[in-house]
């Protein structure tokens, strides 16, 4: 593995709430290499969005990034930068696309203004030059009639166009890293497909690294080259996309795969259509919900929902075991592979 572009080291984020301190992200370490797309998956509340927001330091009180956490980019720890320096990173070196295209744009400012603003705060561009860059960025993301659009307000655009606008806004300065937080969740299926194709295309052309946050394994299968799975504030499994879909080691990952419609990694012949294959009758759900972040279960945080759990799981928090050079899993099963034999078929990782 080459020198990572972005490196998250032991990230811990806590929230002070009425119910106690919530450890939303609890020791996540993650590397993002230049030009790769890393999918970060997990159920809602597992901490993936918080992780993403931490990278840009967008978290607001009561959220707090604990000391000891590090996020390295360009040889600097972002968490140690003064706010002013951090501002020059946001939007220029690292950009972010959010999941709510309906609300992520300011309703009272024109599209052009909102995109040009990025150029104007980071570069000493004239009003006109910034505006031209904005129009060009709109064109780049495939918005037809970009000149007109630039003069319009968000409410005059469709959801898909708005998401393209957000993408244009993120990419206008060609950032090294793009964090896409559930970029297509709020869109309908055909628009999703178009956008994902666009994202893949732009990533290839601009050569940037993408941290793709999603709960949708189908999206990951289509776009990502590597996958990291989060549960309860921790990274539970990390592997190249083919490897993960073929040989998930963590029961949670397996559960996710079980719960999703039929999946295949991107390079299969099915493309995006693959997710619509049959097998609906075989869908399963992971029982229970993600526990509240104020009270993670002891031992393995997944043990109370895990059908493979045994007494060790309740007692002892599993470390992150290296399955091979590129595959890690946080599960006692990785240390006690013999137990796997006793498990029900559904959890052994074979996916039809």
């Amino acid at each position: 593995m080459t020198e990572p572009l972005l490196s998250i080291r032991d990230l811990r984020v806590t929230f002070a709430t009425d119910g106690g301190v919530a450890r939303a992200v609890d020791g996540v370490s993650l590397d993002l290499a230049a030009g790769e797309i890393l999918g970060l998956v997990g159920e809602s509340g597992c901490g993936k969005s918080v992780t993403a927001m931490s990278v840009l330091r967008l978290l607001r009180p009561p959220a707090r990034i604990e000391p000891g956490s590090e996020i390295w980019l360009d040889g600097r720890d972002l968490l140690a930068l003064p706010e002013r320096a951090m501002r020059s990173i946001r939007g220029r070196r690292i950009a972010m696309v959010f999941q709510e295209p309906m609300t992520a744009l300011n309703p009272v400012l024109t599209i052009g203004h909102q995109i040009a603003e990025v150029v104007r705060v980071h570069e000493r561009a004239s009003r006109g030059a910034a505006r031209a860059r904005a129009v060009a960025a709109l064109e780049q993301v495939g918005v037809p009639d970009p000149d007109l659009r630039a003069r319009q307000y968000p409410h005059q655009l469709s959801g898909g166009t708005r998401q393209r606008v957000l993408l244009a806004m993120a990419l206008v300065l060609h950032p090294a890293v793009l964090i896409a937080d559930e970029p297509t969740t709020a869109l309908d299926v055909t628009v999703q497909a178009e956008l994902l194709a666009l994202l893949a295309d732009l990533q290839r052309r601009l050569g940037m690294a993408v941290l793709l946050i999603t709960h949708d394994l189908g999206v990951v299968a289509e776009l990502a080259s590597r996958v990291a799975v989060m549960y309860a504030g921790q990274l539970v499994e990390e592997a190249p996309v083919q490897e993960l879909f073929a040989r998930a080691r963590h029961p949670y990952t397996q559960g996710l795969l079980e719960a999703a419609p039929r999946l295949a990694p991107r390079d299969g012949p099915h493309g995006s259509g693959g997710r619509h294959g049959g097998g609906a009758g075989r869908l399963r759900v992971i029982p229970g919900t993600v526990p509240p972040a104020t009270a993670w279960p002891s031992g393995c945080r997944f043990h109370d929902r895990c059908s493979a759990a045994w007494d060790r799981c309740e007692r002892e928090a599993p470390p992150s075991h290296a399955v091979d050079a590129s595959h890690r899993a946080r599960c006692h099963l990785a240390a006690e592979p013999e137990r796997r034999a006793a498990l029900p078929v559904a959890l052994t990782g074979s996916v039809r």
Binding site: G288, P292, A295, R305
Partner: protein, 319 residues
């Protein structure tokens, strides 16, 4: 400015997924069942400013209730019209004396009773009238609603002070009861709009329809089912109304419309020194401070109530 907002009363939607986890998690299970008022109080208590406001208000209430014990002099009787007239603050008369040699502190203490009594009664009157009016308009809807609201618009467009002066002029002289009525009957427009908005929003909720389906009449549906759900904005309106009436009573006294001499209210004490502010400043400054403190406390309490009842709402208009 009618605020329609998602109701908090529905409670958290907690739907367990899957068969294994039928019971709620630990934290949820431990929470005792609160009534709506307990819940309101719990949220209220968290608001420091509101708690301070309530404490101040309670202290003021205690002081004016205990006025006969605290006041060193009779409030309405001249002490010595030659030797003790218009004395600036001193040890014997901490807030000075007025032009007819009455002790200002004693008058402020007793005057608070009058001012607050008027304020509370007038605010209650306004709330009652406004609630009924708004409820009828909101429940009736349609043309009735439109006409009724047009009327309140018209009334709201007359500055209240002018309206009050005009109406007060009708009487020629106002007893305390008259003052309460005049202040009450010119203060209900805002309340009626709030209530009307809420009722309009609530009358077509499932439970209201269900109540009607079960044969409850309009009055019963309104009184037993809908209005209790509008209670918190009404309470907030009453609290704000109290503050406003205290200010208005003082304002009316400024124009010579107030309680009858020799009785004191905070407004009339100020009025006694109004054209001699320069020489007799203590007559203006001290009752004014009493008013500001009280109204501030009332507003803090109203703010707290509003935040407790509806954490996301903005601030209402000052009439």
């Amino acid at each position: 400015m009618t605020v329609t907002r998602p109701s908090e009363r529905g409670g958290a939607v907690w739907v367990p997924v899957g068969p294994r986890d039928a019971a709620p998690p630990e934290r949820e299970r431990r929470r005792p069942a609160y009534g709506p008022w307990r819940a309101l109080w719990r949220r209220y208590r968290r608001d420091q400013g509101a708690v301070v406001g309530l404490a101040v208000l309670a202290t003021i209430a205690a002081i004016i209730i205990a006025a006969p014990l605290l006041a060193a002099y009779p409030p309405d009787v001249p002490l010595d019209i030659i030797a003790l007239k218009s004395q600036p603050p001193s040890w014997l008369h901490p807030l000075g004396t007025d032009p007819v040699s009455r002790d200002v502190l004693s008058r402020v203490l007793y005057g608070g009773r009058v001012s607050l009594a008027i304020a509370v009664l007038a605010a209650l009157t306004a709330a009652t009238v406004g609630t009924l009016y708004g409820a009828i308009a909101g429940y009736a809807g349609g043309a009735v609603d439109a006409i009724m609201m047009r009327v309140t618009d018209a009334c709201l467009s007359i500055p209240r002070v002018l309206l009050l002066l005009t109406v007060a002029a009708l009487w020629g002289r106002l007893s305390i009861g008259g003052l309460v009525l005049v202040l009450g009957f010119t203060g209900w427009f805002g309340v009626s709009r709030i209530v009307r908005g809420e009722v309009l929003a609530l009358r077509d909720r499932e439970w209201a329809i269900a109540a009607r389906a079960l044969g409850a009449g309009a009055t019963r549906t309104l009184l037993r089912h809908i209005l209790p759900n509008v209670a918190s904005p009404i309470i907030v309106a009453i609290a704000l109304g109290i503050g406003n009436v205290i200010l208005l009573e003082a304002g009316l006294s400024f124009f010579g419309v107030g309680v009858q001499p020799p009785q004191a209210s905070w407004g009339t004490i100020m009025q006694d020194g109004a054209d001699q502010v320069r020489a007799l400043w203590w007559l203006t400054v001290f009752p004014g401070l009493a008013i500001v403190t009280t109204v501030m406390a009332v507003h803090a309490v109203a703010d707290g109530l509003r935040r407790a009842a509806d954490p996301r709402s903005g601030y209402g208009a000052r009439p």
